[in-house]
Amino acid sequence: MPAEFSMRTSPLRDVASQVGVAKPDPAIVVDDVTRTFGGLVAVQVEHLEFQRGCITGLIGPNGAGKTTLFNLLTGFDQANSGRWTFDGKPLAKLPPHRVARLGVVRTFQLTKALSRLSVLDNMMLGATGQRGESMWRALLPGMWRGQEREVEDRANELLERFKLDTKRADFAGTLSGGQRKLLEMARALMSQPKVVMLDEPMAGVNPALTQSLLEHVKDLREQGMTVVFVEHDMDVVRDISDWVVVMAAGKVIAESPPESISHNKEVVDAYLGAHHDAPLTVEEEDKVLAEAEAVIRAERAAQAEALDAAAREPL
């Protein structure tokens, strides 16, 4: 069995490495989305598809617009224009809680632990469809007690898997930075989402735990979940992604399987700062000179022509 497991053939093996390429079974489809902050174009994506049941890594330099894209897709920010759908249902203009209820759940780059709630309460909050969350039924504990116990069991199970079970009764505000990342991811899973969007889930988590987290993310894929995650560590991206999308300056500049992403010229340029800081070679210098001379010659010719035309004008 393990052999077969490692031989997992990606449903994306026949997909071309090309920006905006169509996927066989996309869960999320993004079209012509733009978001500007004043003069800054933070996101400008023409077409992007996220394959269902796959792990898609979203990478790009700082300020590329990855978090902004997450915010747009999950309703936390308003796009200037554009459409995006989940399972064919349009998501644009839906408030965040409606997006979450459809099964698209995200985590935040800057963790949002609910400090003065216990770790267990943080987890239990994540469960959806809780009867006791209605004000009237809340007054009648009989209506929700049974469900509450199920939710608690599930929360404890997840806490154990994320190695937070010993912290169960502590305030979430007492957790360390890495533990908060873990808690937030576990909490998102409490809602049994169809799509999870993780914004730098491994940042600040120690390497040993990263390994087990990665296994966990792969598990989610086995369960049929669609995972989109932002990550700066290329080893992590290569390890678990089925597909990698690269953003720079708001645009998607490349898409491909993880093995071939580092051969892509656009990507190398985006990360290393393109031609600007490379010294000019002799040929390039000559080329620039020639171009400048050509421009001057053209201008002179235009001036002469204008003078000629003026001279020929009847008085």
Partner: protein, 333 residues
């Protein structure tokens, strides 16, 4: 010795008196708003005024039955909450604070304006609406009862009995709600709205529910106050009352079911204690000479002393009487 006993008796009466009920109910509402949901409502007195005037206007101005007056007061509080919440609950917390304090002041100025005289009695206010309420009393209205040395009239006893029953029921409701999944969402919103949203909770609707619930407690407080004084006057409902209720809440401990109640009781006990104590000390055979403190200044100076006491408490016990110190310390991280 007799004097010390007198002071204690007077203070104990204040501990259980109608003012303590009034502030306890307002503070229970503020606890729902601020303590549990993180909503900064600085216009709680507006809700109280709508409660008091709901009864007064219905009964005195329009001659409706007392029960209808109570319903009108509660309904007015619900509408006021909707009016305040609809435009502001989507915005940051400070907007609600500004809008609520302004709205409460506008409401008071509106009620005391000359053109409102036929309805609210303007600056003279309304009276003569509490007859039906006292008719329900099992106590002899004119009789005197002595409890723990303090003399209570039948009217007072009836008001505080109803008042403390309301407080008890209110605490029960808050306790049930806050240990339920509903309460968990409410507390999550206090901690981080966006986190709650990302988990599929309709934050706006929950905040609105909280605003209405807390506002109803404010209205009930205002009703007890109006009934206890048998009058409703717009100038009784100054914004300072909101802040005294906050003081009571913080003294008792926020986000604790009994915090606002015990806070209000102790607050009024301390006020009565310092006042009657100072009256004794500055009186004819008192030990404080009038050059230092005249007996006419006592009413003001008691607030100064209680304020100093509150400050000391918050320095040494920032979580209030019932609060959990660990919770307060989390913010320092």
């Amino acid at each position: 010795m007799q004097q010390v006993l007198d002071v204690l008796i007077i203070s104990t009466k204040a501990f259980f008196g109608p003012l303590a009920v009034f502030y306890a109910l307002m503070a229970i509402g503020l606890n729902v708003h601020f303590g549990y949901t993180g909503l900064l409502n600085f216009g709680q007195i507006g809700f109280a005024m709508l409660g008091g005037f709901g009864i007064a206007i219905s009964v005195t101005t329009y001659g409706l039955p007392f029960a209808v007056g109570v319903l009108v007061g509660l309904l007015a509080a619900v509408l006021f909450a909707l009016l305040l919440g609809l435009p502001t609950l989507r915005l940051r917390a400070d907007y609600l604070a500004i809008v609520t304090i302004a709205a409460a002041e506008i409401l008071r100025l509106l009620f005391r304006s000359v053109s409102a005289t036929p309805i609210t009695g303007a600056t003279r206010g309304l009276s003569g609406f509490s007859g039906d309420f006292y008719a329900l009393s099992p106590f002899e209205t004119s009789a005197r009862y002595t409890i723990l040395g303090a003399r209570w009239s039948g009217r007072e006893l009836w008001v505080v009995s109803v008042g403390w029953t309301l407080v008890a029921l209110g605490c029960l409701a808050v306790w049930l709600l806050m240990r339920s999944p509903w309460g968990r969402v409410i507390k999550a919103i206090r901690e981080d709205e966006d986190a709650a949203r990302s988990l599929g909770k309709n934050v706006y609707a929950y905040k609105m529910q909280s605003l209405i619930l807390g506002g109803i407690f404010g209205a009930l407080g205002g009703m007890i106050y109006a009934l206890a004084t048998s009058s409703a006057n717009p100038d009784q409902y100054q914004s300072a009352n909101t802040f005294l209720a906050y003081a009571a809440l913080i003294l008792g401990g926020t986000a604790r079911v009994l915090g606002p109640v015990i806070g209000a009781m102790i607050f009024w006990f301390l006020l009565a204690f310092t006042e009657s104590g100072l009256v004794e000390l500055t009186g004819a055979d008192g030990i404080i000479p009038p050059e230092i403190l005249s007996s006419t200044d006592v009413a003001q100076i008691r607030f100064v002393l209680v304020g100093l006491g509150l400050m000391t408490l918050l320095i040494f016990r920032p979580q209030g009487i019932f609060g959990d110190r660990r919770e307060v310390m989390l913010d320092a991280r």
